[in-house]
Structures are given as structure tokens and as C-alpha cells.
């Protein structure tokens, strides 16, 4: 097979990017060229991993982590998405579309693979008539509800201004939400009978093999191996920055329950000042959950899709404190599948106690053993992209 050029684009958080990395690795391993157009912050992960990037956004999207209005579970988390699109995607859409257009013109990719809020890349691919494959980690985007159809219509007008022409209803939904996706990166065992799901899920390529700092890795390993049950607490790649009160709630709860805890992602000056005196809490930067989580008694997390799958792969029961975006949806999946409990700040202590006491209806092993292996999910995605290139359309 001749080497191909694939432009990948995503605009979101690490949860949007990480499941694409095994796919990118697979393409590069077989000799394909890959360039990833993504917001600059996410690009740092890729550059550390040896992947070429093109920066989208003007850096202002970094402020999203300090924007408390983004973190909302209203309307099942859709309010977070609407605000993200309004404030951080639309704001730089014209410039981003021009950037991607220029990459397509000069680099001539054989296919464009998009996910998350890669609106600019979808628009540019549509204009250039390059085969585009839409990958989604959001089953709830497959069939849009009425309010989201209205929102998509409004945002479509923004996209039309950038495109300089009208978009059809179908092209509008595709450009704005990536709906309907060609590939759903999710797992049937977790989705169960979720009624909103229409696309065939091919599995979730969980990936977290970016190394942490040697200091954090060693400290976490030593802390966990010191004995006694350990609870991990994480709020994902950026939610933890803004939701300091959740860290404090978690600190109070683990103290009340008398368990030791690793707070992954609670770092910096704030953590030093507020959690530095907590003897039974270790604050660490990013560490790969696949390496450190197995053997933990439980994990308290925000319900991000990556962490949700990370906990299942580690066989560790989860207590989910949804904060925004897809997290309320994911917390319901976790509870329905029997791999954890959907919790709240008010019920966190009770819920964590129930899980630690073994009284929660949780069977992580049953779900873990039924998961589609990440390598199969990656292979399915690669096959679909190959098919798109061969046929010039799916």
C-alpha cells in the first residue's frame, strides 16, 4: 500500500485527543504521514509523542480552564458544549479554517479525520472535497435533540459566513456537531441499551501512555505500595484546574473515611496551599492510570470518557462526580453497566463508603472482560479511513 497523507483534527480536551493517538501511531508505523491540526495546548501532548502538529486557536482557548461558566451539568451537560462553541470555537473559526485550508492546499492530504469540535477542519475538507471521516466519542451527538438542532442552525450561520456560502442542513449538522459520525469510538458493553445510540460502536482505544514526571511516578508508586486501601481522585486534564471546591470536598471525604488518596492533577500553588498539610493525600501531576490505578480500592472521577474507560480497564470501581460536557451521560452509563456509582458532592461520602465497603452493586470484571480490545477498535477505525480513501467517500 502506498504511503498516505492523513490530516487529523480535533478541538477539545485530552479526552478527545487520546483515543486518536493509537490510530495515529498505527498510521505512522506503516509509513503514512500524519499531521494533526489541533488547539495549541493539545498539540503539546502530540509533540512530546513525536507527531507533527498545526496550531489552531490563538491560545485564548487556554482560558477555558479558568472559565467557571463552562463547567455546567445543566441540560445534561449540553450547556457546556454550547458555551464552548460560542466562546472558543466560533471566536477563531475563520482563522482556523484558513489555516486548515492552507494545509490542505499545500500538503494535499488523502483524507481528513475529524473529531470533537474540529469545525474548521470539517469546513475546509468540505470545501476542498477531500474524503472526510468523522470520528465521535459522543454517542449523544448521533441523534440531536430539538434544542441542539436549533443551536446547530444558529452556529451553522457562523460557519456559512466563514465558508462564504450556504450549507445544506445535512452539511450544517456535520460541520457543527460532526453528526452523524462515521465511527463511534465507544463500547457496546458500556452503552447497553442507551436509546440515543444509532451508530455502530467499534470499541474505545484507551490510551494514556504519555509518561509523567519521574518524581510523580515514583512518589505515587511508593505511596500506593506503603499499604492500606488507596483511593485515586482525578478530574481529568483541565476540569481540575477550575473546580477547586471538588478537590476540597474529596479531601474532606477521604479524611472522614480514613483512607489514603492520590489526587492526580491537583498540582501547583493552589494544591500546595490547600492540600499540602493533608498527610494522607498525595498530590501528583499526570500519571498514567493504566500503570498506577490497578489495585486501588476505588477511583473518584469526573466522568470524562477516557478516565471512565481507564477505570474499567484497571478493574477499579468508580464514583463519578460529573462536572460538565458528556460527564452526566457517562456517569449514567457507569451506573447502568455496574462499574460504579453516579454521585454528587452531597452524596460523595456515602457513595464512596458504599463502594469501599463492597455494598455497591458493582462488577467491573464482567464489564472489563467484555470490552472490545483497544487494538481492535484502532484497527476498525483504520479500516474505515482506508475505505474512505479508496472510495473517496464512505
Amino acid at each position: 500500500m502506498a504511503a498516505r497523507k492523513v490530516l487529523v483534527s480535533t478541538f477539545g480536551s485530552a479526552g478527545d485527543l487520546f483515543p486518536l493517538i493509537p490510530f495515529i501511531d498505527r498510521l505512522m508505523a506503516r509509513g503514512d504521514e500524519v499531521t494533526v491540526a489541533t488547539r495549541r495546548g493539545l498539540g503539546l501532548y502530540l509533540r512530546a509523542h513525536g507527531v507533527r502538529t498545526v496550531g489552531l486557536g490563538d491560545g485564548s482557548e487556554l482560558r477555558v480552564v479558568h472559565d467557571p461558566r463552562i463547567f455546567s451539568t445543566r441540560f445534561d451537560g449540553w450547556e457546556s458544549w454550547h458555551r464552548t462553541v460560542d466562546r472558543y470555537v466560533a471566536a477563531t473559526l475563520e482563522a482556523d479554517a484558513a489555516t486548515v485550508r492552507s494545509v490542505i492546499e499545500s500538503w494535499e492530504p488523502d483524507a481528513v479525520v475529524t473529531s470533537g469540535f474540529a469545525t474548521a477542519a470539517r469546513l475546509a475538507a468540505l470545501e476542498a472535497k477531500v474524503p472526510q471521516v468523522e470520528v465521535s466519542i459522543y454517542p449523544q451527538h448521533v441523534r440531536l435533540g430539538a434544542s441542539n438542532v436549533r443551536f446547530a442552525r444558529r452556529f451553522r450561520r457562523v460557519a456559512e459566513q466563514v465558508a462564504g456560502r450556504e450549507l445544506s442542513t445535512a452539511d450544517g449538522a456535520r460541520v457543527v456537531w460532526g453528526a452523524p459520525p462515521d465511527v463511534l469510538l465507544h463500547d457496546p458493553v458500556l452503552l447497553g441499551s442507551e436509546p440515543s445510540v444509532g451508530a455502530r460502536p467499534v470499541g474505545f482505544p484507551y490510551w494514556d501512555t504519555i509518561p509523567g514526571t519521574a518524581g510523580d511516578e515514583g512518589a505515587v508508586r511508593a505511596f500506593v505500595s506503603a499499604g492500606g486501601p488507596v483511593v485515586f481522585v482525578t478530574l481529568g486534564s483541565f476540569i481540575g484546574v477550575a473546580t477547586s471546591e471538588v478537590w476540597l470536598d474529596a479531601a474532606r471525604v477521604v479524611a472522614a473515611l480514613g483512607v489514603r488518596a492520590v489526587f492526580v492533577g491537583a498540582r501547583g500553588r493552589w494544591a500546595d496551599e490547600h492540600l499540602g498539610d493533608c498527610r494522607d493525600i498525595l498530590c501528583s501531576g499526570f500519571v498514567p492510570l493504566s500503570e498506577h490505578l490497578p489495585g486501588a480500592a476505588a477511583i473518584v472521577h469526573h466522568g470524562g470518557i477516557g478516565t471512565t474507560f481507564g477505570a474499567i480497564h484497571a478493574g477499579v470501581p468508580a464514583v463519578v462526580l460529573a462536572q460538565a460536557f458528556d460527564q452526566p451521560f457517562n456517569s449514567r452509563l457507569v451506573a447502568a453497566a455496574g462499574v460504579g456509582v453516579a454521585s454528587s458532592r452531597d452524596s460523595l461520602e456515602t457513595d464512596l463508603r458504599t463502594v469501599l465497603d463492597g455494598r455497591a452493586a458493582v462488577d467491573t470484571e464482567r464489564v472489563r472482560s467484555a470490552l472490545i480490545p483497544p487494538s481492535e477498535a484502532t484497527a476498525s477505525l483504520t479500516d474505515l479511513v482506508d475505505a474512505a480513501i479508496s472510495q473517496k467517500r464512505l
Partner: protein, 105 residues
């Protein structure tokens, strides 16, 4: 979070922009960088000022700093290798190298 990129291996930085003259432009760059990093009251802008010991950047700010410097330089295609920045002078050298030779796809 991404201080790992800056601290990995504990290596000293390589000079990215050649010998630096601490010009008014460099001073203005450092002042603007401190402002964008929201370091209120920071008035140490010399090239030898440590980003971590003197400016006391935490891991998230270190992450932001790379993005800010690349945005200031207008680098749409950032270099594939992550920079190692430890001082204000390193940050300016990196900015200057991006301005002089913007990478392309």
C-alpha cells in the same frame, strides 16, 4: 500538568536563538509574557531570571507559557520538538528563533 515536558531529564536548556542581546525589544517581550501569564507585580525581566524559581511558574503556567510564546511568534506550525525553557532568556531565544525561521508543514 505539562511541567513534565520542561523538567524531563533535568537537562539544562540549549540556547535556541543564539547569543542574546537584552534589547528593549527583549525587555518588552518579557514584560508582555509576564502580563499574559498574569504575573501581577512581576518586575524582573532580565535574561537570567528563572521561570520557576524567580517567576515561580507552576506546571500549568509552564504549559501555558510555551503556547503563549508560540502564539506571540505567530507560529502556526510549531516545531516538532518541544523546547526546554528555564529562564526568561530561554523564552525570548525561543520566540526569536520562531520569528526568524517559522516551521512549515
Amino acid at each position: 500538568m505539562l511541567a513534565l515536558f520542561l523538567s524531563r531529564g533535568g537537562r539544562r536548556p540549549v540556547s535556541l536563538g543564539g547569543p542574546l542581546t537584552w534589547s528593549p525589544e527583549a525587555q518588552a517581550f518579557a514584560s508582555e509574557l509576564a502580563s499574559l501569564l498574569q504575573l501581577a507585580g512581576e518586575d524582573r525581566f532580565d535574561p537570567g531570571v528563572s521561570l520557576f524559581d524567580d517567576w515561580a511558574l507552576d506546571s500549568l503556567q509552564a504549559f501555558e507559557m510555551i503556547v503563549i510564546v508560540e502564539s506571540m511568534a505567530g507560529a502556526t506550525v510549531p516545531p516538532p520538538v518541544l523546547p526546554e525553557l528555564f529562564t526568561v532568556g530561554d523564552a525570548y531565544g525561543y520566540y526569536r528563533s520562531l520569528r526568524a525561521e517559522p516551521p512549515s508543514v
